[in-house]
């Protein structure tokens, strides 16, 4: 009986695009759209790419969605272990971030990566935390980060506006603006987004809040996209 040889991950199939994260006054915020692209086809339009990992930590993931699901499973296992220990201690956001780094780096060294770029965001010991880990095991902590196209399109906008004491409303507006630009220019982006934050506990004791998906407004009449504008259409480009 003919058997296929063992193969390793060579390319992602169903993918998520940009995730953006920023630290702000009350904690840390992540934003991402809800699209799972099948190549350039906008196939799965309600993929929740931001998920809660523990009471004070969330992750936002771009790249291969099936690998994201695998990561969710692993993190859930770790969280369950913590609960079962029942000793008043659970892993901090930084420890979760380090754990992901160790896993991703090892799989990369074996030539079989989990094809993701992800942000780990949390709030612990009265300090916010934001880290980046990716498929080759790169990891770093930063005040604001973005994966995928967001790294090119969103980060310059954030650099202009960012301040460690950004209010929540300002932070949301900034993230929505960035995802709007990503939607205009990234062909695998989508107008339906989620915003999530981790802060000090609110009156119900919750630190994590992940919004339901909602649509962002877009404007296609601007000069850039309108062929009636004098400068457009002459060379075939829309820049």
């Amino acid at each position: 009986m003919e058997m296929d040889p063992t193969t390793r991950t060579q390319q992602p199939i169903v993918t998520g695009t940009t995730v953006i994260g920023i630290k702000y006054k009350d904690g840390v915020m992540l934003a991402a759209d809800t699209l799972g692209s099948y190549g350039t086809m906008a196939r799965y339009k309600d993929v929740r790419r931001i998920s809660k990992v523990s009471d004070n930590c969330i992750i936002g993931v771009s790249g291969e969605i099936s690998d994201y699901q695998q990561i969710q499973k692993m993190l859930k296992e770790k969280h369950t272990e913590d609960i079962n220990h029942d000793d008043g201690y659970s892993k901090s956001p930084k420890e979760i971030y380090n754990y992901l780094r160790a896993i991703l780096y090892q799989k990369r060294n074996k030539g079989n990566p989990l094809w993701n770029q992800m942000l780990v965001a949390g709030y612990n010991n009265n300090k916010n935390f934001l880290g980046y880990v990716d498929l080759i095991g790169t990891s770093y902590e930063e005040d604001f980060v973005a994966t995928g196209f967001g790294a090119h399109l969103a980060l310059p906008l954030i650099r202009e506006k960012w301040d460690p004491e950004l209010e929540e409303g300002e932070a949301r507006a900034l993230l929505e603006d960035c995802l709007r630009v990503c939607y205009y220019r990234d062909c695998k982006a989508f107008y339906r987004i989620q915003i999530a934050k981790v802060t000090e506990p609110d009156e119900d004791g919750n630190m994590v809040m992940i919004s339901e998906p909602y649509n962002i407004t877009t404007e296609w009449e601007t000069a850039n996209f309108d062929l009636r504008h004098p400068h457009n259409g002459q060379d075939g480009s829309s820049w």
Binding site: H85, D87, Y89, K91, E95, Y97, N98
Partner: protein
């Protein structure tokens, strides 16, 4: 208690519901020299009595660092203790690599206790013949744990194990309520006094046989060098005057009082 027909294998119960091999292993801990530990709200101190097999030999080390935030004292079969130390150090270091942080003390102690238990339920292994006192300062504060060959482990505010440890325990039971008000120096003095209580006959406590470690939130696990131990022993002697007691040293009465913080 000893020598009956149900004590050859650890996998055999006695009619009284006891595993004699495990109990014999616990006796091995009592044959080792005394170790003790005590803590207050921030620091954990371990102290141990070192022994040398003969005049020509060195005194055997009893206190070991597992990680910056954790250390142990062992009593019993020190060779068994060494393999446990290796395991604990590997686990602590691996945790640092994977999670970027210090391992939680109670979780590692639980793992070690599980290792002990596996040996009480296997036909091909024997129980570990060593008791450990584990001092740790982690995210949940200072802790002192004791493991036993049976696989049980307990947390203590103060504890002593090994030969003649009952006298040390009696001393600790008398004094432990004051520990939370003690500073690091006072705790160290208590540990040495408790250690001295377990000496046999006329033996004196000296820097060769006394071993003390300190551990605190800003103090990574440190075994005190001989010079510092000597200072504490001298202070204890001065405080107790020239009474006939176990910590009696030939101290020149004209020497100035040593400042322990110097």
């Amino acid at each position: 208690m000893f020598r009956n027909q149900y004590d050859t294998d650890v996998t055999v119960w006695s009619p009284q519901g006891r595993l004699h091999q495990v109990e014999y292993a616990m006796e091995a801990v009592n044959q080792g020299t005394v170790c003790l530990g005590l803590r207050n709200k921030t620091h954990v101190i371990l102290a141990a009595l070192k022994r040398s097999p003969n005049e020509l030999a060195c005194y055997q080390k009893k206190l070991f660092k597992i990680d910056d935030h954790m250390g142990i004292a062992m009593s019993g079969l020190t060779a068994d203790g060494r393999s446990l130390i290796k395991y604990m150090r590997t686990e602590a270091l691996n945790h640092r690599y994977v999670y970027g942080s210090e391992i939680q003390g109670n979780r590692l102690v639980l793992d070690v206790a599980d290792m002990h238990q596996r040996c009480t339920q296997s036909y091909v292994r024997r129980p570990y013949g060593v008791g450990l006192l584990v001092s740790v300062v982690d995210a949940t504060g200072p802790h002192l744990y004791a493991t036993e060959p049976s696989g049980n482990y307990y947390e203590y505010v103060a504890m002593a194990i090994g030969a003649r440890s009952q006298t040390a325990r009696t001393y600790l039971e008398r004094e432990y309520l004051t520990f939370n008000e003690c500073n690091e120096d006072e705790l160290i003095k208590h540990s040495l006094k408790a250690l001295a209580a377990s000496l046999s006959g006329d033996t004196e406590l000296d820097v060769q046989s006394a071993s003390v470690s300190v551990l605190g939130p800003d103090q990574s696990f440190k075994i005190l060098p001989d010079t510092e131990i000597q200072k504490y022993l001298d202070i204890i002697t001065l405080e107790q005057g020239n009474n006939n007691n176990n910590t009696n040293m030939d101290v020149d009465q004209d020497e100035p009082i040593i400042d322990p913080d110097a």
